[in-house]
Symmetry: D2
């Protein structure tokens, strides 16, 4: 299957992440999810942790908004952060309810170390750096889910809804938009030749490191089984 086209920065960072990227998007958790063989306990554990994750992820996008100085970026970040909170979270809550996980249980979820590891990396990188550092740390999550969804969009079985969501047109469009937002933010600050600047190395490292931590998030799901 062809690679997803989420823009220039993604293509570069994905290549630079190399085997780390493959370990993340091709993680056993993902393969078993797509094949429908993932133990239910793993999926439910993942869903519960994902609730906590979404809160921290929304906060990270709010930080993108706070750290932007261009109106177009502020608007895009606000749409994403607002949508996560007012659309995604309620959807996630009702999905969990269907699985027998109440909102009270979600709110009482003890955050797993692997969950903390990725989200706090994003926050720390974003606070310590600027908007570009933050976007590079966010990219593996947004776009990795897109690549995984796209690859397994035709999966059926018990987790078919999950792959259909991330492989679906809405989520793929979001990936294209986030990729374009990232490319535009880079060019607007560093010019069209930004990949040749020393700073490109640091940005690619944020992407790779966040990718490693995202793989840890999948592993957490498997370990629970």
């Amino acid at each position: 299957m062809s690679l997803p086209d989420y823009g220039r920065a993604f293509a570069l960072w994905r290549t630079a992440a190399g085997a780390d990227w493959d370990r993340y998007v091709g993680h056993d958790f993902v393969c078993q999810l797509a094949a429908g063989t993932l133990p239910r306990a793993s999926f439910l554990h993942y869903l519960q942790q994902d609730y906590v994750f979404l809160l921290h992820f929304a906060r990270a996008w709010a930080l993108v908004f706070a750290k932007s100085d261009r109106l177009s970026e502020m608007r895009a970040a606000s749409l994403i952060a607002h949508g996560l909170l007012h659309d995604e979270m309620p959807l996630h809550v009702s999905l969990c309810a269907r699985e027998g996980i109440s909102e009270e249980m979600l709110q009482a979820t003890p955050e797993s170390p692997a969950n903390m590891a990725y989200t706090r990396y994003v926050h720390a990188t974003g606070y310590a750096g600027d908007l570009l550092d933050l976007l590079a740390a966010l990219a593996p999550c947004v776009l990795g889910y897109g690549e995984i969804g796209r690859r397994h969009a035709a999966s059926v079985g018990p987790y078919g809804d999950w792959t259909a969501t991330y492989g679906g047109a809405d989520y793929q469009r979001l990936c294209v938009e986030v990729g374009a937002l990232t490319d535009a933010a880079l060019e607007a600050r560093l010019g069209p030749d930004w990949p040749r600047l020393p700073r490109a190395v640091a940005l690619a490292r944020h992407f790779s490191q966040a990718t490693q931590l995202e793989a840890g998030f999948w592993q957490m799901g498997l370990d629970r089984a």
Copy 2:
């Protein structure tokens, strides 16, 4: 006229700010605006600066979102930040257009020192401190406009739209909500007796200092006349 009831923290902080608060809500710029005697040049200068202000103000509310760890606060902050960007800003742009100030002119506005002073104080206080520090620094703007609007809601004349907006039911409701959000955030972290904690002094100081800088924002309008 009775004092506005925007909650407990506001009442305490307002009292603690004393003469600084009166100098802000009773500033000559405000009196002349209400009386309709404010020079047009002052009002237009204020409108232009207010465009830049709104951008930084929206970013500050996005930071409230990013720094919250309670879902209700995240939702409220997202509604405000999102509303500022997607509703208030377009309204402001069309209001300015009617006054002959194009969006291009707005975007090219050189930010005045008094404008920087208040917004960066809010950002700096919010980044260096926690959610409560940020809310204390934001309160003078949100709630001061509410008190001014309420006091001058019946004003007619060239600036009657302005006073009607801030004295109107929608804005007054926002003030009550922001006051309640602030009170709830304080109690949820510091308990019901928070005004007796040493930290209350620092919070009141943020409010007073931000109040002084807000008065400087009005003065900037007058100085331009």
Copy 3:
């Protein structure tokens, strides 16, 4: 052996962390280190990662300085951050050199996920919160090493220097000072009854979560063996 006396906050947080604390200070890595049975490869891996750790740790103490608004705290934080950079790091570099790890190797160390997890948690918690949040997240590292050192101060064998350092008078004095700094910072902001405030729960959670991530740092050493 009696518990170390590093102040009131530490005693409370340590108790609240419960089994997580025991898993951290009593981790197999630590036991094997004290017993002298830890594989050399594990120790060397730990040393290399610790170099990267120290950089992020020093930055965290610099953030304590930046986020303080009391001169005594600023001074204490500056002494620690400055000392880490100008005393600890050179010591660590020469210790590594004796083990055959050059400064170039140290600087090229790929940061392990467990290493990122703890340090970014501290940074993220500190940036998103205030000084107290940051101190609560820093405490498990500073004071946990103190407790471990104290417990194993009499250890001999290949890693006797390590336990002697952290069990020695200098490091124990630092622990007492950091405990006192933390207690004073809490009281100066939240008053003497701070443990009864709702906020105490959040602070204890930072401590517990950071403790879990610190245990992951030891595990990383073992996994490498």
Copy 4:
């Protein structure tokens, strides 16, 4: 008199700030200080405010340390922040004591709006952006004092000590070092052609805006007379 040589970034930013720079380094407060005609009340007011300023300035340099990811930058920033706290502040306290201003009075100084304006601009710019944004906002203070001191180093009269300090070899060396640190930080991230990148515009704007706010600090001194 030739321009001071504090490096490439300073030369570019100084030129871009144009008349704003001249209004700052050639402010009446400075001219009267150099001529010895500045009213004593103005100087004393300045000295008191400068105490509060130094605290915030030291915190800003601690933030440089926290936001650096290169050891050389961390070391340089730590030296400056540490030196401000442990050398400059005590010197300032004893200078004030000779003028009849006790340490208690210094600690009770109500911070003036112009004082807040500059320091919070630096903090806000630094927290919202990255290390380079922060350095650009800090430069007008460090290097502006250097240029002023250099220009008036031969001044005698009641304020001769002040001009001698900033015009002296120690402070001039510091300016050269800070200029070199800034140049190196820019090159290490953005490459040797950084002035051609779009980001250079934003950095120059930070410098110009901070310069305007620094001029307001001098004006505060005059206004008090």
